[in-house]
Each structure stands twice: as C-alpha cells, then as structure tokens.
C-alpha cells in the first residue's frame, strides 16, 4: 500500500532529522529566485537529485515517477516564457524559430530554460524532503523540536493513517452506488449530486472513526500529564550537521564561481537576464 510519494529505503537521508531536510527548501528557494542563470539552478538540481539517488538510495524509477508531474509544468513554462519574452534593448534579437505569430529568440529561449531549471531545482529540493521523510516523522519532529501541541500533533498522525482507508472506502461507495443503478457519467447537474452522495457515507464513517481514535488516545492518557517523555527522540545528530555543511559548502562554491566569473550583475531580481557570451 503506497501512500504519497514517500520511498522507504532506510538510508542515511531517511535518518536525518525531518526538519533538516525541510529547512533546506528555504535557502534554496531564496538563492534561486535571486539568481537568473542556467548553470546555478542546473547545479542545484543535480545536487538534490544525485543526493536522492546515492545517499537516499531512491531507485531511479521511483525518482523518475516523482519527477513526472514536473514534465507538463516544465514544458508549459518553457513555451510561455520563451514565446512571450520581451527583448531588451541591449540584446540583438536573433530569431531562432518562427511559429505562426510567435517568434522565439535566442535570449528568450535561454531565459525560459533558466526559469524552468530554477523551478526544477526548487522542486528537487522539496523531493529530497518528501521522498525520504515519512509524514509521521515530520509531525513527530514538529512536536519534539517546534513545540507543536501534543494533542494536535498526534491527532494529525492518527488522521494520516486514515488516508488509505478513506480511498479504499470511496472505491467501495462508488461500486455500491453503481450496483444500485446510479450512472457514473452524467451532465453538469448530475456530477455534484453524485459527489454529495459519496461524501455523506464517507463523512459519517470518517467522523465515527475519528471519535473512536480520540477516545482510544484519551484512554492511553494522551496529554493527561503536562510533561511527556519520548521513546524515539528525533535529535539533530552529527549527520545532520554534516549534511548541512555539505549543502552550505556546495552553495558557497557555486556562488563563488558565479562571482569569480565576474557576474555579480546576475544577482539581479528586477532587470531581465543577460546573455552569456
């Protein structure tokens, strides 16, 4: 029963504190929004994807499947950015391709590729978190390190267990309604009514189960004691430090290269891109 995109391999990436992997998304996003360039987002994408394949021992096929949703987004973004690119005064608009009313220029294509790579890098950084962190571990880390209220945290964890149950139940309800002769298709009016028909039994059993879980947790003294201990402490370990250091050095090297190549102008938010010669 697979749930979400999490891939269980028990690797060293999996054993990192969930928050370590979670916070990485923030500086990555920040740097990448500031830098418009092809090399930097490409290197960042590579960093995260390679980390997943090697450190995370995520099979290439699973990684590929997780990247799949990016494909339509990437293609769409590439096309719209390139097609609607406004040439700057400093640039010579060499036309690369002409498609009906659309003129694709080289600067436009380069800019579009850099934008797509930037989104890919941010997506890859969140995959590093999503593919190697079980949601339960993440909530546990929030409870232990960020003082998320215990009742809320464990409530979320219990609710998460219901997700596969609910989807199985939805399949059953649909089958049950079909047996009784409710057609699956139907026009604009039929669809919402049908969905409402699914929602009622789903809600009824969801609420019932949630109540049962709440009572079961109360019966085991959840939150009854102001101070609670933890069997499995999610600490920041040496490997967390090592991973953060590796990430930091990688970032510094990439940014140094960027500056060394004489391109501080590329740290540029408001003006458009320039072309590498």
């Amino acid at each position: 029963m697979s749930q979400g995109v999490y891939v269980e391999t028990g690797s060293s990436l999996h054993r990192l504190n969930p928050l370590t992997k979670f916070v990485l998304v923030i500086p990555t996003t920040l740097i990448l929004t500031l830098v418009v360039d092809i090399a930097v987002p490409a290197l960042f994408s590579l960093f995260f994807l390679l980390a997943l394949l090697t450190l995370g021992r995520v099979p290439a096929s699973r990684l590929g499947r997780a990247l799949l949703p990016f494909l339509p987004v990437g293609i769409g973004l590439l096309w719209t950015t390139a097609a609607f690119y406004q040439t700057r005064m400093a640039e010579t608009p060499t036309v690369a391709l002409e498609l009906g009313p659309f003129q694709l220029t080289w600067p436009g294509i380069v800019y579009a590729v850099s934008i797509v790579l930037r989104v890919l890098a941010i997506y890859a950084s969140s995959l590093l978190f999503l593919l190697t962190t079980h949601p339960t571990d993440f909530v546990l880390a929030l409870v232990q390190q960020c003082r998320l209220p215990v009742r809320l945290g464990y409530g979320v964890m219990a609710a998460y267990r219901f997700v596969p149950l609910l989807s199985a139940e939805l399949a059953q309800i649909r089958a049950a309604h079909r047996v009784r002769g409710v057609p699956e298709g139907g026009g604009l009016l039929a669809a919402p009514r049908r969905l409402l028909g699914y929602a009622i039994p789903l809600l009824a059993s969801g609420i019932r189960r949630a109540q049962q879980v709440a009572v079961a947790m109360d019966a085991r003294a959840l939150g009854a004691q102001p101070r609670r201990t933890f069997y499995r402490r999610l600490r920041f370990s040496r490997s967390d430090l090592a991973f953060l250091l590796a990430y930091a050095s990688f970032t510094v090297i990439v940014l140094t290269l960027l500056v060394w190549m004489g391109l501080p102008a590329r740290l540029d938010v408001f003006s458009g891109p320039t072309m590498r010669r």
């Binding site: 339960t136 596969p164 149950l165 059953q172 009824a204 009572v215 109360d218 019966a219 085991r220 499995r232």
Partner: protein, 585 residues
C-alpha cells in the same frame, strides 16, 4: 436483582474488589434517555467477567466509565460512583487511571497513531512520563506477553487485523494496569485471528495478574475463561449477573428476545432439550457438550437419511478463466473458473484480500469482465443492457451505509423499483410489503443514517430483495449483527432460494455456511482453492486454515462425538444433531 442461586462462582477474596460500580447512571448531552441506568456490580481481583446485552445497551459506555474517559474526557453526565482498585474515577486524574485500567477497542484501524509496533507501545508510556531508558524493557515485556516480540520493529500498516488487536492489547499492558477491559475485541477479526486473541486472553487469565472485563458476542472459545456474566437489558439496566451456566438457563427467554448470541453448543443443548433429549448439565463449551451428549449416542442414528441431490439445473453463474488486476495494484484474480447452480445458496470464503469481493463485483458488472468470462443465467454478462442487469442481479455491500442514496427508509426501498419504471401504485404496494417483512414499517420516514446497525442491515437487504433478483450477492451479511437480525435475514434468503433464486454469500461466518449453504468455494490469493459441497469444506481442516477459518463449534463437537461412536456421520448444524440423536420432531 441478584437472585441467590445466581451468586458468583468465580474466585472470591475478602479484600477490596477490583471494580466496584454503584448506582451508575450516564447520560450523553442531547440524548433523551440515559445510556446506563443505576448500574451496580463489583468484580473481584483475578475474575474474568463477560458483559452481554443487545446492541445499544450501554456496554461501550460502561467500558469508558471503567477507565475514567467518562467523565474526564467525554462530556457526559455521570451519577453514582465507579471505584477501580480502590480509586474513585471521578477524583483521580486520567493519567493515573490509565495505569490501572487498560481498554482495547473493537476497530483495529482506529486505535493507533504511530508508525511502528514499538513506538506505538511506547506511546502510552510517553504519555505517563516514563523515563526513556525504562521503556525498552517494558515494551519488550508487553510484546512478549502477547506473542508479538518478533514484530517489534514492524510497521503497523503491515500487520494483519489480528496482530493489530494483539498490539492494542500490548499497548495497554505496557502501562501496567491491573484491570483490562476489552470492548468487542474480535468484532473485526476473522475466526482464526479471534481464536488467537482468545488464546492470548487465556494466557493472561492463567497468569492471574489481571482482572478482565470482556464485551463480546463470539462466545464459544471464550466460555472456558468466563467466571461470571453481566446481562444488560435494552434500556441500559443491569438485568442479571451470575455464573454463566445458571444465567443462560434462567434468562433464556430474555437472551432470545434481545437477540443476544449465546455459545452455539448451549443453543444446541436448548434445542435438543426441547426435542426431548435429556440434558443433565447445560454445556458451555465443546468439551462439555461432548461429555453431555456422548452417553446419548447409544440411540444415535448411524444411518444418515440420504439427502437427495437437487436436480441438475442450469448454472446461475458461470465464470470461465477470469483474471483481473487492479490498475495500480496486485493481481486480484488468477484464472478463476466457477459454476454456481441456480436455486442454490452458495458461500464464497477465503482470507481477507483473497479476491472474493473482486470476483463478486464482476458478477454484477461493476467490474467489467472480458467478453466471454462471466455468464449469467446462460447469457454472457456483457450481453445484458445497463438497465437489464440490475433487474437480474443485486449486491448487498458489507457496510450498508455505502449503498444508501435517499433520505428516507421508504424512498430507499422504492429507489430501485422506480428506476425500473414500475408504476407508482405497484411500487407503493411492494415497498410497504418489504418494510413489513423486514420489520421497518414504523421507520418508513426515518433517515437511513439514523437507523441502528441491525436496522441498516435489514434495510440494505430489503432494497435488494424488493427487486426480486434472480441472483443476490451479499458481502458479510451477518457481520456485527445480533441473533434476531441474522435470523430474519436468513429466513428471507431461504425464501428467495426456495423460489428458484440464487444467493451468493461472501462470509467468514462458518455457522452461516454450515446452516444455509449447499456448496462453497474457497478463494486463496486470487485462485480457487476449493469448490464443492459444504460438508467437504467443513471436514477439511487444512482447507479451513488456508481460508483463515477454524472449524465451527458444532463441527468440532461432531468430531469429538465421532470418537465415541463409530460411523457417526459428520454433524455440523443443529438440524443434523436433531436427526442424529433421534430427536426429529
């Protein structure tokens, strides 16, 4: 309320009782009537007490009162007093009470919140603030006690239902309670898993460290452990308490009237006694029944009245090498071939996930079979039109709520008839007759979701039977039902079969199989492991084990008796015993 002859036969001690309940009345906000009314009883340390009562009689409420969830965590008004190991539940905080009283609930899917077995066991200890270095020892001890030590690091979602229930037991045991309360712990388990849970209970009881209160209606394997029974009436009142043998004898009428299950061998003894067989001691277990009945075997009939095989009829259903894989899942069916004769009651059994429902959904066209793979009444299923199929084949799902489409009981029954374009006047007559037959006439205007469990089940069967289908498929029709609803539904199904209809029941309930079905098929991992007469299935222990089943009590009793009397045919139903013991009326 306690008649002297029914006084406890359980172990007594002069010290403080483990549980003392005095004048307990509980009322939930927004309800007219209280869930429990002036209930008083006590339980001695080391006793195992069985709580019986019709559904909705407040048994679960009682469980929540014993560990203090009422009144501490649930807003209900509580009068009277509950003392557990000397502590007044009202005065002692929940954290302290949960170290004294552990509760296991019925749904294995609704008791956990963590990932692995050991973390889940640790959860209660964490809540109590137990130092982390003490935890591994306590976790190991609890898992050892219930036989899950090897699964310590296993993910909970990979456990079977039975393992989950034993884990729930381990979770409360780790907290070190003296009192265990189990609220229908086997309701969601297959017979094999239930037997394992009872075996675990037997070990706990033998160890003698716990006082145990069990709410349960699968009784045959539990009876050897029961010291005393508390019998509740429908209004949340304690009707009687006493040793099981005496209580069952004295309150037989009430047990019948409220539809409360009693051990099958006890029920058999009542029926035999009615038919004139001398029963000197009411049996509660298979062993006791064997001892009671063995002396009567002298007169037992060795020559079984030969059953005339039903004449060969056309198959109602023919499945030809049907395979199916769910789009994103495992292979559910592998080359399944099956013949279901018309006019028969056919049982489809097998462990959870064996493909029973998948197969059944192909028979009503919800899952579309390949062109020639499923035949219905001599025609390929695919040849039936969209409108035509629901007139021929109906399906009753395990959870009745899943099938409800309208907002009144009346419309629910009328829905299928109206969809067939039947005239209003005829719809009205047929609906009224169906509501009458299923005891739902007074509820015609109620919303289906407000019905009780038994009423919902009766309604879902009524909505299917009112269409007069030639083929009716039912998924676990007896699941969670009391004796009355079960008997009513079986009567209606028998009528359908008698009139030439075909019933296919997906079930784990071997009593149902033994009493009603003529033929059965066992599905294991998507393949047909057996198809043939029910007697053959009941006689094969390996086959039953493959299907997650255990021989039902009356079959086990038959085998024990056969050791005394050579040539005794295999007995599996009350009717068989009536014939065999010469008590045919």
């Amino acid at each position: 309320m306690l008649s002297p002859s029914l006084a406890s036969a359980g172990p007594r001690s002069s010290c403080e009782p483990a549980i003392r309940v005095e004048g307990l009345t509980v009322k939930y906000p927004g309800r007219k009537r209280p869930a429990l009314v002036r209930v008083s009883f006590s339980v001695q340390p080391g006793e195992l007490v069985l709580v019986l009562g019709p559904s909705g009689c407040g048994k679960s409420t009682l469980a929540l009162c014993l560990n203090g969830v009422i009144p501490h965590a649930i807003a209900a008004t509580m009068e009277g007093r509950v003392r557990v190991v000397g502590l007044d539940t009202r005065q002692v905080p929940l954290s302290r009470l949960s170290e004294k009283v552990g509760v296991v609930f019925q749904d294995p899917e609704a008791q956990f919140c963590l990932l692995t077995v050991e973390e889940e066991v640790a959860f209660g200890l964490e809540n109590l603030g137990v130092p982390p270095d003490e935890m591994p020892g306590r976790i190991a001890a609890a898992l050892e006690l219930i036989g899950l030590a090897e699964l310590r690091e296993r993910r909970i979602d990979r456990l079977s239902g039975g393992q989950k229930q034993r884990l729930a037991l381990a979770c409360v045991l780790a907290m070190g309670p003296e009192i265990l309360v189990l609220d229908e712990p086997t309701a969601h388990l297959d017979p094999q898993a239930a037997a394992e849970l009872f075996a675990t209970l037997a070990r706990l009881k033998a160890a003698g460290r716990h006082t145990i209160v069990v709410i349960e209606h699968r009784l045959d394997d539990l009876m050897p452990l029961v010291d005393r029974v508390l019998l509740f009436g429908p209004e949340g009142r304690l009707l009687a308490e006493g040793a099981p043998r005496e209580l069952f004898a004295a309150y037989r009428q009430e047990l019948d009237r409220f539809g409360i299950w009693i051990p099958q061998v006890t029920e058999l003894a009542f029926r035999l006694a009615e038919a004139g067989v001398e029963i000197d001691r009411l049996p509660l277990t298979v062993e006791e029944a064997a001892e009671t009945l063995a002396p009567r075997l002298g007169r037992a009939r060795r020559h079984w009245p030969h059953m005339v095989d039903p004449p060969e009829r056309q198959p109602a259903v023919e499945v030809r090498r049907l395979s199916y894989r769910y789009p994103s899942g495992p292979q559910a069916l592998r080359e399944v071939s099956l013949l279901i004769p018309e006019g028969s009651f056919f049982a489809l059994v097998g462990p959870n996930g064996a493909g029973k429902s998948t197969l059944a959904l192909h028979l009503v066209g919800v899952l579309e079979p390949p062109p020639e793979a499923v035949w219905l009444l001599g025609r390929p299923l695919r040849a039936y039109g969209r409108q035509e199929l629901p007139r021929v084949a109906s399906y009753v799902f395990q959870n009745p709520e899943h099938q409800f489409l309208t907002s009144t009981v009346h419309d629910e029954v009328a829905f299928g008839l109206r969809a067939q374009g039947i005239a209003d006047r005829e719809v009205e007559t047929r609906v009224r007759a169906a509501l009458e037959e299923f005891g739902l006439a007074a509820l015609a205007l109620a919303h289906p979701f407000t019905l009780s469990q038994g009423e919902k089940r009766r309604l879902s069967v009524a909505t299917a039977l009112v269409l007069r289908p030639r083929l009716l498929i039912l998924d676990e029709p007896t699941f969670g039902q009391d004796r009355r609803t079960t008997a009513l539904i079986m009567t209606r199904l028998r009528e359908l079969v008698r009139s030439g209809g075909t019933v296919v029941a997906i079930t784990h309930d071997l009593r149902l199989v033994a009493e009603e079905a003529s033929a059965a098929s066992v599905l294991v991992a998507g393949r047909v492991a057996f198809a043939g007469p029910v007697a053959e299935l009941l006689g094969s222990a390996p086959l039953l084990r493959q299907a997650g089943l255990v021989p039902p009590p009356l079959v086990r009793l038959g085998r024990r008796l056969a050791e005394w009397a050579d040539g005794l045919p295999p007995l599996s139903t009350v009717e068989h015993y009536l014939v065999a013991l010469g008590a045919e009326r």
